[in-house]
Symmetry: C2
Subunit: 720 residues, 2 copies
Amino acid sequence: MSKRKQDMTATNGVGEGARDLATLFSPRSIAVVGATTNAAAIGGQPLKHLADHGYEGTIYPVNPKYADIAGLRCYPDLVSLPETPDLVVVAVSAHLVPDVIRVAGQKGVPFALVFSSGFAEVGGDGKDAQSRLQAVAESAGVTLIGPNCQGLINISDDIPVGFGAPYGLTYSAGAVSLTSQSGAFGNSLLMALNKEGVGLRHYVSTGNEAATSTLDFFSHFIDDPQTHVVAAYVEGFRDARSLRVIAGRALLKRKPIIVWKVGNTVEGANAASSHTANLAGGSTYYRAAFRQFGIIAVNDIADMADCARALLTGRLPFAGRGVAILSISGGAGIAMTDRCIELGLDVVRFGDDTSRRLKTLMPDFGSAGNPVDMTAAAMTSPEAFGAALRSILEDPAVHMLGLCLAALSGQAAVVVALEIVTVAAEYSAPILVAWNAPHDLNGEAYGVLAEAGIPVYDSPVRSARGLSALAEYAAAVKRYDAAPFDSSAQGSPDDVDLPVQTLNEFDSKQLLARHGVPISREAVAHDREQAVGLAEELGYPVVLKILSADLPHKSDMGGVRINIADADAVRLAYDAILQAVEQFDLPIQVDGVLVQEMASAGTEVILGAVNDPAFGPAIMFGAGGIFAEILEDVAFKIAPLSADDARDLIAQTRVARLLEGVRGQPPRDVEALVECILRLSDFVIAESHRFAEVDINPLIVSSHGHGVKIVDALIKLRQI
Amino acid sequence: MSKRKQDMTATNGVGEGARDLATLFSPRSIAVVGATTNAAAIGGQPLKHLADHGYEGTIYPVNPKYADIAGLRCYPDLVSLPETPDLVVVAVSAHLVPDVIRVAGQKGVPFALVFSSGFAEVGGDGKDAQSRLQAVAESAGVTLIGPNCQGLINISDDIPVGFGAPYGLTYSAGAVSLTSQSGAFGNSLLMALNKEGVGLRHYVSTGNEAATSTLDFFSHFIDDPQTHVVAAYVEGFRDARSLRVIAGRALLKRKPIIVWKVGNTVEGANAASSHTANLAGGSTYYRAAFRQFGIIAVNDIADMADCARALLTGRLPFAGRGVAILSISGGAGIAMTDRCIELGLDVVRFGDDTSRRLKTLMPDFGSAGNPVDMTAAAMTSPEAFGAALRSILEDPAVHMLGLCLAALSGQAAVVVALEIVTVAAEYSAPILVAWNAPHDLNGEAYGVLAEAGIPVYDSPVRSARGLSALAEYAAAVKRYDAAPFDSSAQGSPDDVDLPVQTLNEFDSKQLLARHGVPISREAVAHDREQAVGLAEELGYPVVLKILSADLPHKSDMGGVRINIADADAVRLAYDAILQAVEQFDLPIQVDGVLVQEMASAGTEVILGAVNDPAFGPAIMFGAGGIFAEILEDVAFKIAPLSADDARDLIAQTRVARLLEGVRGQPPRDVEALVECILRLSDFVIAESHRFAEVDINPLIVSSHGHGVKIVDALIKLRQI
């Protein structure tokens, strides 16, 4: 991934002491600079949409060309306005925008929503123009949204401030607030969520995020009492370091954040970086951060809707991932079971009491095991259906319930829906329904469930995703409650414009050792006999390695000799290594020959760290040796890591199973590995201003009680 | 997976020389046995639905209790009917069904659709009742559908013959014919596909499949000129051996088969087997078979719709998996790119000419690389949009085109839609559109695309699935055209009621060697000096192993000594092995001590075979050693295998990368491995009547040109 220098102070238009964005979504008055009589133009649409939607505040068209527009008095400039508007919409050419913002600042306008394009998204000069605009907004004291954004909609109060057909529509109000880094695709999302029946509260297209970022809106929505779920379409964060704190606050306040981050493949990420002014970043770190910080990552519109639907219930299965499934048609139950298992949920085994009771409530050919198949009997005996639901929910292993009603229709559907609502009121466990009867024929039954806030999915497979989002979110909240994120320590990305210096193996390990990371015993010899002396001190057998920061692949060049058993062998090896390296005749600096103890037996793993431009320092862990090469068996966490983070980092890899001890081998010293990861985390935070990369390969994890040891390491530092 | 004895001859109610199922879907007359005046009852609904839908044939209610029902003359029994109906619907109690079928046979009725439940689905006595019913139908010459099925609908001609609310609805007619092994969930699917805008031709709920199976319907639909795509919801096939031939015919006729097989997880499969009369089977073999035979496997309603939509176009990208993506909003293009890559498609790099031309057709801030972001310019200049489409489609690397229109609305949408249709008519490549504008405001534009058969998806992620289905299907057709499936050789499942005999290592390998599979050089010693003599003959070093069919884990018990270098060492090892095994004092039969050459260097793999009750013999291949234990790195194919099958079997595993030679190791002899897999395939087909299991572990794959060799093997045979 390419790294670019970031101005990290620049994205804090809204931060500590920043304005409350509530006014932005509920302005009492709006000035539209660049207003026009052409209702189809970018400067005409906001006026039309606001009027059409019965906006109750005051609209001030601003354009020296007109005296009035659509019956509203038009002003030549912002200065002439009779009052200070809460919001200025800017729809003029890019080069005119800074002046508008300057005047807005003089007038005391708090917010500017800039539609104008021609900034960072066009590259080159546009980037400079955006930097200047940013500076102007900052000094003018105006909170700027955009530029190159398409607008916002306060759906709760029906206030559309934007251009494009979707701003002319009306949406079902609800408790999901949505941000999008793409204007056009944000429209798609907005309409799709509405079509999926997910009610929205606020929507905003964030454009180039010169001053106000998606994360600023997250912060606002978390505090907004009427927002229960935050959702976002994201191409990349320029500075993601505040994500930990924001996500922590969201967990504390039980406001789930759902993010669709695109650009997950190399190809997609390249497209994202060519398309937006944001740096897409490696999605690797995004995925890692979302998992670490309890953010629900989704990958499609339907996926976002499915998660939102479930999370809006506010019912969280804190006790565990135990799922019960009840269908009136086995097929749906099987499909749901398949998907639940794939998503890592437990389709639990019922207690004997539950099974016994269920058997009495259904025909002999029903199935009382989980998934329960009540068969069509559920339709004919609502009492038995309700009793079955209660029996299942009483089972201590059951934390969530998925109901599959297939295409149940007519009066039976109404009766079943009422029974579900009654039972749901008696229990706190989440209850999700998969049902796809014709809506027009079953308005009453659908209405009964909607009224009670029971989420309905049109496929059992999709409802399983809802359950998994609940389990994932509940687990994240629990983890956070037990151990809030450490926000005291935070690294800074390194300055990518500075040259990089690679430390040789010895210096790299010494630096790590000073931070408490265990390294192999070793010393540097500068002549043959010194090598022998060091070997005698260490005790045979020993390893000799060429020491040079310029030779990362030293073994390939004959620069390493292992298992050296005595003094004569040390002498031979010393000469052989120097000769082998010399014969390549490379312009390298040789710092000596490293004399090292032989590595003890254990599992080889890789431990590393990178300094991501958006996230700052991140730790990588994975399988060493041949596994690393063919399996790409690695996982990442954003530093600093807690002990739980370190354990989860290990657990995400396949090598974790090797560490448990397979084929009769003893279990490895995982606690020492966790400690080592934490030391590395401390190191990268402490050195974040200058470290570019740490590569520890291999780290040997010995059997339980015997610790870990770095056998080889390489550190790249910025020359500051 | 449990194995059950199957009566393999029983499921051939429709097979060679069977009736043409066309009459079943378009009967000129239908008798309903168990007809009733209660229009809500199972015996009343078909009459009502047929009447409501204006069925033009003759309906004969049959019930001795009534003189007429709903204005139709009611007959006391089938014998009294004035003519022989094309179809008899049976809605009477289970115990009365055989008599009805017997009489139907006497009357010459070709088809009976049996709604009655209380057969195999209730287990125990029900299974026997179903066997008897099956025998009655066979001797009566009546082709029986069900029992325990919910009916069928000829959607093209609006003939619903079934019970349940969905049979009262009207669906958009189209070219997809659908089968479901679940009545209720089949209804869900039917309605969901209709809601997704996928037009259907025929639908049938197959129930217990006592005589007519899903595969029989596949066979019929492949031959039905108006069916272009076959879709199915499947819980399990009792006998899947005809799948190869049926799927081959479907590929030949370009009739894609889309299957949603549930019960893919252990939990789901258990639920499936408890819920239906079918044996769910291990989905492992289903997945293997679908891949091998060019069947599109899906896992949700939307997934089925997405694949059907694309495949209905009949445009197949035979030239490759190259995808071009063009969006009017980068976000959608990125999301589509992500998903295309995840699905294994190539989001290709355009040729220089293409890029150069595209650059002239869009604003500077657009993106002319793939994915192309034309930005909103596409809306304002339809000529440039059309020219861009043509430039892309002219690029030889592009085999498919995905267009992302985000929420484009109004007249611009109509213009863009017309342009797409015009260009689509000029090229043969598949063109899919992702678009989710409000339907009610954009009826004209949606209509333009629908009219021209351009598939529209409501999300770019979903449209990527459509492209992948096309690529997958086109590749399967190409493979089939180049090398049709070998249907001459077919194995039979072994008889699971017979006892199993395990062959010892020597006998197992000898049996394999007789089928041309290369094995290690070895012989059996019965005393110490014979062992020495054999070792001298083989040449040192040698391996000694205890030889017993009763000791699969012989090394764990000290029953193996490797790297034995001379005669004295052989004597010591011989005694040590016997002593080690004796000390466990197990009731085992020892057949001697195996003296074996040392295995040469190479990659350890596992090769195996199982005899599946539904699919017959299947071959397994995977990584050996520690990989096998922690990665479950194995793949399966149904026997017999072609050389291409064998290569694909290897390619599906991660060990394939080891075989290519990593870390400077030489590439392995993959061609010898392929040959070995083919020999094993021949073996399991030849011995299918009696083999239960083959386990070759390890098979050593040496470097290129040095072949493969079985080091250990174990065969289980039925004692026939």
